[in-house]
Symmetry: C2
Subunit: 383 residues, 2 copies
Amino acid sequence: MSFSDHMSLPNHFELLATDGAARTGRLTTPHGVVRTPAFMPVGTAGAMKGMHWRDLRAAGTDIALGNTYHLMLRPTAERIASLGGLQKFTGWNGPMLTDSGGFQVMSLADLRKVDEKAVTFRSHIDGTKVELSPERSIEVQLLLGSDIAMQMDECVRLPAEQADIERAMQLSLRWGERSKRAFERAPAGYMLFGIVQGGDVPALRHASARGTVDTGFHGYAIGGLAVGEPQAVMLAMIEEVAAHLPTDRPRYLMGVGTPDDLLQSVRRGIDMFDCVMPTRNGRHGVAFTRYGQVNLRNARHADDPRPLDESSEWPATRETSRAYLHHLVKSGEALGAMLLSEINIAYYQRLMADIRDAVSNGAFDDFYQKTRTDWERGDIPPR
Amino acid sequence: MSFSDHMSLPNHFELLATDGAARTGRLTTPHGVVRTPAFMPVGTAGAMKGMHWRDLRAAGTDIALGNTYHLMLRPTAERIASLGGLQKFTGWNGPMLTDSGGFQVMSLADLRKVDEKAVTFRSHIDGTKVELSPERSIEVQLLLGSDIAMQMDECVRLPAEQADIERAMQLSLRWGERSKRAFERAPAGYMLFGIVQGGDVPALRHASARGTVDTGFHGYAIGGLAVGEPQAVMLAMIEEVAAHLPTDRPRYLMGVGTPDDLLQSVRRGIDMFDCVMPTRNGRHGVAFTRYGQVNLRNARHADDPRPLDESSEWPATRETSRAYLHHLVKSGEALGAMLLSEINIAYYQRLMADIRDAVSNGAFDDFYQKTRTDWERGDIPPR
């Protein structure tokens, strides 16, 4: 592993403590400090679905994610730049990470075509033909004013042929180099993360990690996981990659995951996560709690005056009755999605805060065991 | 006008000041005090659309309205009673008024039939055949634990034949008497309001007001307005009715209205209002402000970093840019509806608070003129 290139970039990450492979630290961005391990809620088009930014902050969120693909199409990166950047535009005013846009071109856009130079596609909003190259992706992310920009990469859904995984991995390495060159004009303090690909093939993961670190970035992401493979495969790939990443830079596992995914990944050295799961599951009536998932659609809750978790420090979790949540979900009331989204985000952020404390105190193993025991215990019995 | 009957019911309303016909007072309910004039946001099925109860309270709301028709069908009044009443069920824990359910049977249910005894209909949720009589409506409202129950009445859309208006008005008087008898078993402190009908016919309004006051209620509502008639007709009918209502009881104008409707009606002696307009218009991208209505869909806002009203004391009104609101509305993001709903409710409640202050200070006429001048000035010019 070469440290020569990434060492040439300023380091804004401070590792505060480790416990086994688990880490806790501070990442200083132009818009504020991020405590790690950090969970980043996803504000796709510049907004969280069903949550005010003020409540996101109150729930313990340090950093949010915006989607470049959506924002470049509407309201456009140029407009957001003229309005002072994404943080000011949304009123969030805190740290933001943006993805490169590449992943969502693949899942949302029509008539997409990938070649060495760029991805071309038609906008899902108005059908306009758009070209997204690594250089344009960085330009867009700089216009958005992202505290952390991501290199453009190609992500392959699993299972996939090894030849396809390797081709996409090699392309991602070349796009990473082009992304880094394009990022040279970024203002001081802003960061660019490289992305390790390689699917579920250890040798390709090793090669991708080495190549990405050789290019050198402010931080390193692991992409192409949580795309259809079993959790055990994901965790094995994290271990394969983490061994090749510099210890002094932040590590971000993209698009993950369940609370258990987060806990298991922290245990293998991951510092940052993003996922739509807490808000998406909330919109579908599912709560995450200390004692596992609770489906509020279930008729057992209809007459239950008890809250989801009377020991939670989050008011909506501690005070709202299951009967009311059940009623809201069954009635399709927006307030049900709003309450469950904030309950879930608050649970995720509580989990991350507890993890940080446990690592700081050298008690991560105990916390890991206790947390899994609580999840396995499951929800309180019906009354 | 006879005071004999209504005088026999305890009075929970205290008139604090008058200025011309405008009034300000305090209505004490089992779940708290309501400052009048009061605007009641509508939480149809036990939830405000797009607003947390905590934000409703922060915006200056003293009392909210629930719809008996929706709640009796789902989750049912019996279930809400077993969970401690609507205030506790929703977590609002403040004063609540419920309508009788009759109006929404007419607008939402299938196969409805009105006779002397009751309204029968099929539920719009599951097709079940349901009978709603004045006695059952009161029973349901007592199960819900409403601080203020409404008598069952029949409301005729305007324009209508005088014979139809009179028939519905006479039926409403008889249903009012039956509602009052059914309410005799209500616990102390809970209130029942009668409803004056009579369409746009002054003689029928007089007869209805006299008959309703003869029956005697804790307060008096004016129904059957804002159902298609011009504002001038509505205001004329308020004047016809108000002259026949006892001055020591609260007066509630049902289903009204725009900020100007509220201001004009207070000027004619109204104390309470309810309307879906602030939240419904918010969901459609329209904001109410000190300088009139603003349609955030309009492209003029797309690049405008200015807030809706920089002098507002409500944070979302003072801090959120028009450009961001425009983007949210155009993108169909739930946060747009959420922000505009609370911005509008906060504006309505600010207006009511300012009205109360103006009446207390004997300055209502000045406030009335200044407010209308501001509305007429209109929104700030585009940049």
